[in-house]
């Protein structure tokens, strides 16, 4: 008879055990392995602003000396690096150009894929998705030959522009894919209603659809900007003149020279370079995550 009653003590114990088990799982799976990430970023900030750092992350004495590259040239022995500001402008040019090109191309293509009837539409979508999945970086050698053939190699600013266009082309299929998702999400009825009410297709597009897909454009632009800003391999491989390096390439070279010598200086320089990315991410985090989470749900 007594077996029929629920043993409260036993249940409480089970719940407690489960709570402990869950806490342990979270601790060992999600918290402890994230320690290197914490160390990295705390260390980055601590080193950038202090003259001495103990245990890697505990700052000791505030200084701005590590930021000297902002107002003077980086020099190591006889090796002189170009001034940081033109290099920053190169990076901005690369990133903004990539963002503009991708947004333009992807917006047009996304609209066509989502809204227009044409032969081979499904095949085209499959093809674009396949390109999106394909690791474009294996084409680097061929792209190098191509840039040479087009006369875009070894010509400073023109080479930088070549890298920008190539980067945009490699990002464009993904952009088109995201934009298609956003256009898909605008119900036909809305556009239809606008047309019935006397808008022509272009006005309907501008007044009705555009506001609805603006987050999509923003997301594609932010993504392309960040991709252009972070671009390393192509710029590293293709751009010879240090005057036209983007920040990524200059930092790569400076790291090679200063590691073990001046961590604080490298940390400040890296932080300077990573800052736009971090700011962008913080402000558009919701938007970006929403896209990772399914695109079409806009």
């Amino acid at each position: 008879m007594s077996k029929k009653y629920i043993d409260i003590k036993k249940i409480k114990k089970r719940i407690l055990l489960e709570k402990i088990a869950k806490a342990l799982i979270v601790l060992f799976v999600a918290v402890i392995p994230s320690i290197p990430i914490w160390l990295m970023y705390l260390g980055l900030i601590a080193q950038a602003f202090s003259s001495k750092v103990t245990l890697g992350i505990i700052p000791n004495g505030f200084t701005l000396k590590n930021w000297r590259f902002l107002w003077s040239t980086i020099q190591m022995g006889l090796k002189k690096y170009p001034n940081i500001w033109p290099i920053t402008i190169n990076s901005l040019y690369l990133a903004l150009g990539t963002a503009l090109l991708v947004t333009f191309v992807a917006g047009l293509a996304g609209y066509a894929l989502s809204r227009m009837e044409f032969r081979g539409r499904t095949k085209m979508m499959e093809f674009i998705l396949a390109l999106h999945a394909f690791p474009s970086i294996v084409l680097l050698i061929a792209l190098f030959v191509l840039l040479n053939k087009l006369g875009l190699y070894g010509r400073g600013f023109i080479t930088l522009t070549g890298v920008m266009i190539t980067k945009a082309a490699l990002e464009a299929p993904m952009g088109a894919w995201i934009m298609k998702g956003f256009f898909d999400n605008v119900p036909w009825d809305i556009e239809w209603a606008a047309l019935v009410d006397g808008c022509n297709r272009l006005t309907a597009w501008r007044k009705v659809i555009l506001p609805l897909v603006l987050p999509g454009f923003a997301a594609v632009a932010v993504f392309a900007f960040l991709a252009g800003w972070a671009e390393f391999i192509m710029a590293f491989t293709f751009i010879r003149e240090d005057r036209w390096w983007p920040l990524s390439v200059m930092i790569y070279h400076v790291i090679g020279e200063y590691k073990f010598v001046d961590w604080g200086f490298l940390a400040a320089l890296s932080l300077f370079y990573a800052l736009p990315t971090i700011i962008f991410f913080v402000f558009s985090q919701k938007l970006l995550l929403r896209i990772y989470v399914g695109g079409v749900k806009g």
Partner: protein, 315 residues
Amino acid sequence: MPSLKNLPRKILPWIFLAPLLFMIILFWLVPVGLTVFLSFTNVTYKNFVKFVHGVEGAFNFTLENFHKLLGGDPYIGEIAKITLIYVGSVLAINAFYSLILSISIVYLVKNEYLSTFMRVVWLLPRITPAVVYGFLWIWLISPDTGPFYQFFASLGVAPGSWLLEKPYSQILMIVVNGYVGASFGMIIYTSAIKSIPEDLIRAAKVDGASDLQIIRSIILPLLKWPMLFVISWQTLSLIASYEQILILWGSYGATKAAGTTVFAIYAWFKAFEMGEYAYGATVSLVLVAIGIVLILLYFKIFGFHKLMQPSKIEV
């Protein structure tokens, strides 16, 4: 522009698609063709300039590169092995580790803010520019001040250099890329877990299921497709991902000593460090071929519609 309305409906879509198609042809299809073309030639740094300017007789067609690839090059076997270990290990982190990671973060951590915060932390390695992420690792493992080095040294694991001593260097290569990869799986799984109808979980709870039981019998079975997606998608990007290796090790000599020469970076070294453009293209061609075959295979397995569902974007 009312004139747009009068354009034949058949042409309009192609006008919209034209810029994208132009880019695809010039920067995707032509390079694939060029990769194939180059691998049948003898273009090196010696005749490269002539080749680019189209001087007649600048190069010859030859099968030599393929002979080299299939037997003449003594390193290919080792490089293939390293690539397999690399892709396999990082893939395991991406697909399986990130699975328990996202279940922990999304389902076991009930506080919404804490959960979002943890996700952002795990996303950091992915969003940080590669050069900065690489630098942070170089610092973490540096014997003078790196906390990572010092922690392991205190446990008695103190190689002279994490960068140059096998197998530490290989472990490092996997860990560095694993942290970037883990967040990809996390993003996909997180959205999949969040899309599980609340009622389903609530019903199970009413029936007395514990969280761990819910994970085992509801969440895990529903994550089968996302997991297959993560594995397929990441295999493709991993066979060609060498950015971090290039940043951390830099030259062929260093990767060779460290045992971190994967296929993709070998092609890079051959072309850009040794000027053997044709042979580099041949090595790349292997990856291009693997990529194309895998994509065709995935389309067959998943069908187009399933493939486009889990994620629209690579972060």
